[in-house]
Every structure is written in structure tokens, then in C-alpha cells.
Amino acid sequence: MSDTTNRRPNFSNVPQNGINRNVNVLSIKPTTAKKLVIKNLKSEPKLPEDYIEQTWKKLKSAVLAIQQAKPNEYQLEELYQAVENLCNHKMAPILYQKLHNLTEQHVAQNIEQFLAESMDRYLFLKKMNNTWLAHCNQMIMVRSIFLYLDRTYILQNHVSSIWDMGLELFGKYILLNALVQTRVVEGLLMLIEKERQGDQVDRSLLKSLLRMLTDLQIYRKAFEHKFLQATERLYAAEGQRLMQELEVPDYLTHVDKRIAEENERVLHYLDPGTKYQLIHTVEKQLLREHVSQILQKGLDQLLTEFRLNDLNLLYDLLSRVKNGLAQLCSSFNAYIKKRGRTIVIDPEKDKTMVQELLDFKDAMDNVVSTCFHKNERFSNSLKEAFEHFINQRTNKPAELIAKFVDSKLRAGNKEATEEELERLLDKIMVLFRFIHGKDVFEAFYKKDLAKRLLVGKSASVDAEKSMLSKLKQECGGGFTSKLEGMFKDMELSKDINQAFKQHTTVNSRDLPQIEMTVSILTMGYWPTYQPMEVTLPDQMVRLQDVFKEFYLSKHSGRKLQWQPTLGHCVLKASFRTGLKELVVSLFQTLVLLLFNDSNELTFEYIKEVTNIEDGELRRTLQSLACGKARVLVKIPKGRDIQDDDHFRFNSDFTNKLFRIKINQIQMKETTEEQKATEERVFQDRQYQIDAAIVRIMKMRKTLSHNLLISELYIQLKFPVKPPDLKKRIESLIDRDYMERDKDNPNQYNYVA
């Protein structure tokens, strides 16, 4: 205190201040100290002579009392003290030895009861368990009495603790006795097998005895190995048997149940260390051994019947087995190829092929995403399989996909909303992606698109454009540029028609009262059509000429070629029942107009006057006289048009509708048309092959036949057969683009 009060005035005088403080501190300390001396006892204190015997007697009687489960006559406290005293007098080794002997005697005695012949296994186990539990309890109590011994002597001398000593002795006498050990283990195995057969067993008994084995450190040696062997035997037999007896789905359910049971077994009484091997054994015997059989026997059925839950289970189970998924995947792949092939290959099923493919794809996608956890390997395999089988049949799938799209994009297809249609188109694009010969698709798509646009049957411009952009995205602008050109033509035609309308109203040179619109197509964008000359009525010829003159005045250097096959008209028709409007093709128009002058006409006459090509005219007449709306009457009746048939105007024609469409035949594809389209694709392919051969030869100069073929396969994007390539090579040799090497007939040289 004085220190702090002094500090402030003497703040500048630090050294002096320090000295002052030291003085203060010293003055507090005592100046003198007393000495304490410890001396040895004059005589060492000794234990009474018989102390050890007396004390041991006490302890021995206590231990025996515990072993015989009798009340103890001494206080535990007293006994503990005794042990401590003995230990402190270096009696620990003797004490330990005595305790050891005592325990050994007891355990050795116990063994007798387990050697008896013909004891019920269950009782035996019960008894064993009781003995074990008693032994444990005893040892715990003994240990608490001899705790001091445990803590001092045993820790310092590296001998087994009392508890361990108990275990060792128990193990030595009871369980290392071969007979007893076998009996225990076999009893346990019997119980487990019973449980596996579906019986209720005493799980706590199992657990306790297995704990015993673990504690005695013979679990692994004596039990686990045998247990696993027994497991293996059981499930090997069960797997063999059930594979024969059960259907695959039931088998899978059973396996799943078994695995769950075994897991539970581990949870309830087995040593956790056994889990891996146990489950592994079960999987091996019930699954791995049978993977190929399961897949062979059951996968097709599961997939065909679309049993998602079972498939999911199958996937989960096989993912447990090495290579299981790989095998599942390859079987899945094989199934798709097999099933897909049946969809694709049969010409009878052409009508439904695309829809079936879409459904099949949907189903398989669903399987992969819900049952196979969207495993990438499976989805890739799915794609590969589709690509494989779809190209098993060359060209036809491509054609049918194109036609399918056509049917969806056509007017009158009211089954789908715009979004549904969009989704459908997306799905179709997926199929389209698998197709190798995309040129076939293009050709048929183009032909159908042309019809939709020209006959005005396209359902929606948006859907058309959307499909176009999908194709463009998929195959690039080169693929779609002509298709886009077609749309462009339709738009330009609209403008021209408007201009033409204005033109005619200004210069109305008493033109016929016919509303004329013309679709002007750019040659090259559109499919090529057979040029066809027909005789038009005068007023139509006039109108046509006026338009031509008008068009060519706007566009110099062009020529126009009329395409009568694609024209269509609206006719007013007066029947006895009233007025109707008929939507008809140009050919139908030409035929019908003839009936203005005469009520009945012969086939020959119609043919002569209209100049329509024979087959075309027959089809036209059939559509008018034998179709749904019969505007003409054929004499005699019949489906096929004969040369000497007559036709009469059907004045009694009735129909609910005012406007009747009879021009469906224009949308219909004739076999010739289909053939021609196909033919054109093949023609184009030949040019492409030629070009590719020349390109390769020009680069390589000389090349062997095989190398040339393999390079061609890399370059060509459509399926070709080697003989076709050979033919093209021959043709190029004939035309002197290349030559066979004089010395080596298998080698070609480029001819510049």
C-alpha cells in the first residue's frame, strides 16, 4: 500500500523506489525456521506369523462361497483390505497363484457336467450358457475383492488380469475340450439353421453364447469358419433348388429376404466382423452362381411385362455381385436388340412400327430411370442397342419415321395439343438420331412436306418450323437448306399471288371468274415431279397464260413449268338436293367439268379429252365413283376401272356437309411414288460413293482395295454393301478415273 502511495510523488525516481520496496518485502519474512527430523523405527513392524494363512483362509472361503453361490461370511470391505495388505507385503505372486489354483479347480469341476453322453443339444446349450454367465458373475465379484491385486501386481508384472485369467481357464477346460467345443458349436449351428428354416429360436441364448466364444477368442477359429461353411452349403443347395422351382421374380424376392435376414442375424447375435463374409457368402451362393441363369430365365419376362419393382430389385441385387451389373447390362442390351428387331424387321408391322418404337423407347427409358438408377452405362447401352437394331433393316425405318412425322403434322390430326405434338417430335428426333441412312428420311420427309404445303394440309406452321429447326440442329444447315427453301417459296408465292390479284383487278381483261392462286416452286428445292401434260379447258388455259406472262415480266430469265398433279380446286356443284362445294384435285376437276356438257361419258372419251395419264385417270375416276363421296356413278359397278366403263353424273348425291373434300388421293402415296423416291435416294448415293472414291484416290494416288473400302466406310454416312462399292469402283475404272495396278490387281492407281 505504502508502495503505491509513494510511487506517484517519486515517479521520476525509479531506482530508489525499487530499493524501498525490497526492504519492505524482507521485513515481512520470518527470520528463524524449525527443523523436523524423521527417524527410522527402532524395530520393523512385522506381520503375525500366520497372517498369510489366516488371511488366505478368509479369502479362500469367500471365493468358494462365491463359486458355490453361498452367502459370504466376511465383509467385502474387510476382504479387500486383506488383499491390499497381502499385496503390500509382497505377497502378491503367492496370492495370485493361489487364486489361480482355486479358480482352476472350480472350472475343472464344472467340465464334468458337459461330458455326459446324450444330452439334449438345446439343454446343453442352456446349461453351457448358465455356467458361462455364472462364471462371469463370479469372476466379476472375485475381481472386485481382488481389485488391489489387479491394479498393482498384475499391471506391473504383465500377467493376465483376474478377468482374463478366468476366461483363459474357462476356455482351457471347458471349450478347448474337443468334445465340449464341438457340441457347443454344433448346437449353435443347429439353432441358426433352425432359425433359417423359419423357426423361432432363443436369440438371446445365441447371442450370449456367441459373445462367450468371442470373449474366449475362439469365435473365429472354432465357430466362424464352420458357420460360414454351413451357410455356404445351405445356400448353395437352396440356390440350386429354388432356381429350378421358382420363377425369377419370386426367386429374387426370396434372395432379398434372405439377405435381409442374414443382416438381421448379424445385428442380433453374430459378431459384426462376420458380416462381410456372411453376406458375401450368401450373395455368392444365391446370386453370383446364378447370375447368367437369372438373366437368361427372367430378364426378358420382366422387361416384357414391364415389372418395374422386380427390375429394380434385380438391379439392386446384381449391383451387390461383382460383374453383376455388367452382365445385367449386356443382357438388357441383348433384349432390346432382340425385341427391337422383331418390331423393325417384319414388313407386316410397318404400319405400327414407329409408334411401337416410340413406346418401346419410352418403356426402356422408364426402366433405366426408375429401376436402373439412371445408370449411365445402361442408358448408353440402350442407345447403342437402339441404333443397332433400327439399322438392321436398311432404309425402311427412316422412311416410316418420315411418314409418321407427316401423319402428325398433317391437318386433321386433332389428337394432340401443341405441347404434346412438340414432345412427340422430340421423341421422334431421338429415333431419327439412331438412323444411319438419313438421306432416306430426308427424301421422304421432303416429299411429304411438299404435299402438305401444296395441298394446304399442314396442321400448323409453328409445328412445321419447329420440326425444321430440330432437323437443322441435328444435321446442320446443309441438311435443311432445301426444306427451308420450300417454306420460303410458299411465302414468296403468297406475295406473287397478291400482286397478281392486284394486277388482274387493274387490267381486268374479262378474265374468267375463277380465283386463281399459284404456288411457284424453285426447282431443286422440291422433289422432282414427272412432267405431265394435260388438256385444260380454255378458260383455265387463258388464266394460266395470263399468270405466266405476269410472272415472267416480274422475273426475267426464268421459265415456268406447270405441275398439274399437285394442283387442287374448289368446285361448285349443283345436285338435285342442293348446292355443294367440292374440294378436288385438278385431275378430278378436269373430269367433273366434262359432265357439264354430257350426262354420261365413257372412260375412253374422258381419257382422250383430258389427256390425263392412264393410271392417274383410273385412280381419279375411282376416287370420284368408288370412294366415300360418289359424285359419279360407274357403269357397271365395281372397284376397278375398266376400259369400257361408263360414268354418269350422280345427281342424287347427298352428303351432310356443304364442303366435301374428295382430294385425299393427292395426299396418298402411290407405290410408284414410293419406289421413285427410294430410287432417287439410291441414285444420289451412287454419286456420293463416286465422289468419295475419287476424293480418296486423288489424295492417296495408290491404294489397295481393302484400304479404299475401309476409308469409304469412314466417309460414307449411309449403309452400303461391299458389292455396291465394288460396282462403283468398276464403273470409275471404266470411265478412266482410276485404274487397276498392272502388277498387283488388288491395288488401284488414281488417273489424273
Binding site: L454, G456, G477, G478, S481, E484, G485, K488, P512, Q513, I514, E515, M516, T517, V518, S519, I520, L521, T522, M523, G524, W526, Y529, Q539, M540, L543, Q544, F547, K548, Y551, K554, H555, S556, G557, R558, K559, L560, Q561, W562, Q563, P564, L566, G567, C569, V570, L571, K572, A573, S574, L579, E581, L582, L586, T589, L592, L593, F595, N596, F649, S651
Partner: protein, 108 residues
Amino acid sequence: MADENDNERMDDNQKSDKMFTLKKWNAVAMWSWDVECDTCAICRVQVMDACLRCQAESKKDSYGKQDCVVVWGECNHSFHYCCMSLWVKQNNRCPLCQQEWSIQRMGK
């Protein structure tokens, strides 16, 4: 509007005894360049298609073809305009007949 027109015309038709009258006609015609030879002798591509250069450029723009028109010389030979305009920079003669090149007309 349309219905009114229809009615008027219907009346006309009833007066006439014709069974069928053509009301609307949607004709279809294909146009192509009015040329004697349908390949361009300079780039060996059909004149209806864009010339090689334009095709290469129009990969980005699919309507590029519009500009690739045809040109006729006084000799009546025809080529892509793009091809010919490059040609005349080197040689002002028709590649086919060696006549002095002068444009007769252009495609439109």
C-alpha cells in the same frame, strides 16, 4: 365477307344450268432458269443451285442462294453471275465460245 360473296355467286350459279363451276384454283408451277445448258461451265455446278463460292458461304445462311443469279451473254451462254464476274476480270470473253463478253440479260 367471304360468305356474302359466296351467296352472290351461288345465285349466279343457280341461274346457269352447269352442274360444276370452277370457283377456286390453286395451281402449281416450277420455275427454273431459262438456260440451254443447266450447268455453269465455270464452277461445274447446276445453275439452279448456288455457285460453289456461294454454297460455301451460305452454310451459315441458308437463304444465301437468292443472290446467286444467272447471267446470259450476247452469245446466249449462261453462267452464275458470281462466277462470270470473277472470270471477266481475267478474260473478257465467254468461256465457251470465246466471243467478246457482254451481258444480254440477268436473271431476276
